[in-house]
């Protein structure tokens, strides 16, 4: 940012996502950070980094639907399950190459998501939330009951083969997390870029128009049915990818990973991160994945002083979880992304207030 603002000389330059040197420096720093991470973290922290990367993909997907299109969805867990089960059944049971089965899982989840998005054509707000809650319950019920033992063959879970592709196979304990990190980091970056691009173009703008004023959107020629269903499809595609990756990365699929709690955790991510912001989805995914870990570490450190924290760890984690969401809703409803913008503004305007 120059003293008098940014002066573009062409539409092309204005359409770039970054305009100042500071923004490019920040991008480079983030790139360096991503490269450095696997060299400095141990396996435990690498597994957390990998969980974050998967959560980023899922959170971007949910934000496209909830934050950008204004369609509240509590069906995230169910769609993650669809992605996970589809990919695993295709790769392990039908013998498809894993990347191909993941791609199919993405498409199939998009189709299922579109189907469960149909109530969105008639319902808004809380009523839609209840309808998507139904989709969560239906999918959860189906995979839990596993009628005819089609999904898990009566076991209740599926063991997933180690990820392999064109002769390359992810290695054992010492390299497992690091190799997955590379795969997940690339996919997460692609997901973030796809999300960011979507809302630079007419299609993404029509989603936001539906969110802000659906009647006016129709009056300027946005086909509400098409826009809403496309949003459900795109969003579910991202979520399906996250689900499929969870399955192949954790190498076990069972219904406990896709409950309503997961749906709410993802909603919390995008609320804390910032609704209607791709960067916010990333911040939220990082924050909500790290929070329980940090609480556990703090509880362990304080064990000698306040043994209660360690003894009641799950309860303390839940309580803190709730507290954090409430605090965010009160202090900065627009989430971490807005907080970051405010910090930047503070320094930009310093020594003035505004």
């Amino acid at each position: 940012m120059t003293a008098t603002g940014i002066h573009h000389r062409s539409y092309v330059s204005e359409l770039r996502l970054r305009a100042t040197r500071a923004e490019y420096v920040r991008l480079a720093l983030m790139g360096v950070l991503l490269v450095v991470v696997p060299f400095v973290l141990d396996n435990y922290w690498m597994s957390i980094a990998n969980t974050i990367l998967i959560a980023v993909i899922g959170a971007v997907g949910l934000n496209i639907l909830v934050g950008y299109t204004g369609q509240i969805s509590l069906g995230q867990g169910g769609f993650l399950a669809v992605g996970a089960y589809t990919s695993v059944i295709l790769s392990d049971r039908m013998g498809l190459p894993t990347p191909l089965s993941i791609a199919f899982a993405v498409v199939f989840t998009a189709v299922i998501g579109t189907f469960f998005g149909l109530p969105g054509l008639r319902l808004k707000g809380l009523y839609l939330a209840i309808a998507t809650l139904a989709s969560q319950q239906i999918i959860e019920f189906l995979i839990r009951r596993d009628i005819g033992d089609f999904l898990t063959g009566g076991l209740g879970y599926i063991n997933v083969e180690r990820f392999s592709f064109l002769g390359f196979q992810v290695g054992g304990r010492d390299v497992f997390e690091r190799q997955w990190y590379v795969i997940l980091a690339i996919l997460a970056i692609l997901a973030v870029m796809a999300g960011r691009n979507l809302f630079r173009t007419g299609l993404g703008r029509s989603f936001m128009a539906v969110r802000d004023q659906d009647i006016a959107a129709e009056a300027i020629g946005v086909n509400l049915t098409r826009a809403k269903l496309t949003a459900f499809a795109v969003s579910s595609g991202f979520v399906g990818l996250a689900g499929a990756l969870t399955a192949h990365y954790s190498e076990v699929v069972s219904w406990e990973k896709f409950t309503l709690e997961v749906s709410i955790l993802y909603l919390a991510m995008i609320i804390v991160g910032g609704l209607g912001s791709i960067a916010g989805s990333v911040y939220g995914a990082i924050f909500m994945t790290l929070l329980p870990v940090v609480i556990r570490n703090v509880a362990n450190a304080l064990d000698s002083v306040v043994p209660f924290l360690g003894d009641q760890l799950p309860a303390v984690q839940n309580a803190t979880f709730g507290l954090v969401i409430i605090l965010f809703l009160i202090i900065e409803p627009r989430g971490l992304n807005r907080l970051w913008e405010r910090i930047k503004e503070f320094f930009r305007f310093w020594p003035f207030r505004y």
Binding site: R200, T201, G202, R211, D212, I215, A219, G221
Partner: protein, 303 residues
Amino acid sequence: MLTRAYQHSLNGSHLPDGEPLLEVDAVSLRFGGVKALTDISFTVTQGHVHAIIGPNGAGKSSMLNCISGIYHPQEGEIRLHTAAADGTRTLSTLTKLPPHRIARLRVARSFQNIELFSHLTVLENLMLGRHIHMNHSVLASMLWFGPARRQEIQHRQLVEEVIDLLQLQAYRSKPVGALAYGIQKRVELGRALCIQPALLLLDEPMAGMNAEEKEDMARYILDVHELAGVTVVLIEHDMNVVMDISDRVSVLDFGRLIADGTPDEVKADPAVIEAYLGSEEEDADVREAVEHMQRLTEEESRG
């Protein structure tokens, strides 16, 4: 015609001036037992500023909502004449179409209570006005590739012309929710213009404005009409504005069309005068009621 600085024609109709553009034919609209519109017929001519006036609750906004497809009248038809650039004519029945299809026929509108996309910037709102002219796949959009990227640049040129025409340069990248009321009204006009409308429907574009803002808005509407040649249908309460800028006036009262003609004809129409000023008899009734109330209060204060 537009001056050289503007390269795009904002008028989306290829009909010659003076031909019928929109025919409202015996339209009736009911909400349950409430008759909002009863047997309304009038014709909007290409090249006109056509005003719809009437007291509050007369059904003016309902009429506009029927044209733009938000309401579907139970009886009657609304037909739009369109001509392609090569002169081929088509006649579309708007009463059977959903709003987004009507927008594709280049019928654009603004709303009485501003309905902008409040979290988006002025520029994004105007670019959304180009929605019907944009077409690209989800994949192209997510990859920022090909048509998706090209269209962003291409459509920006027309949007910038609208920004110039309506003098919105200073607000280009401001979120519209934070703008002053008068500016928001102007952005809404701009968004409708970006469609390159064949017919522009304006629902009280000057409501709640002071005299100066009204003058500005009237000037913009005249610019749109005279420079760009866009046919305008507008609802307005301010009689002076209506009589000044419109070529034809339709008057509604209690859901019925009570007059339809040039501003001078309408001004002289006894039915219109009665609707607006009330009849002599009603005046007498009101006077009597007021005097009665005064008597009562006087008696009360005397104890």
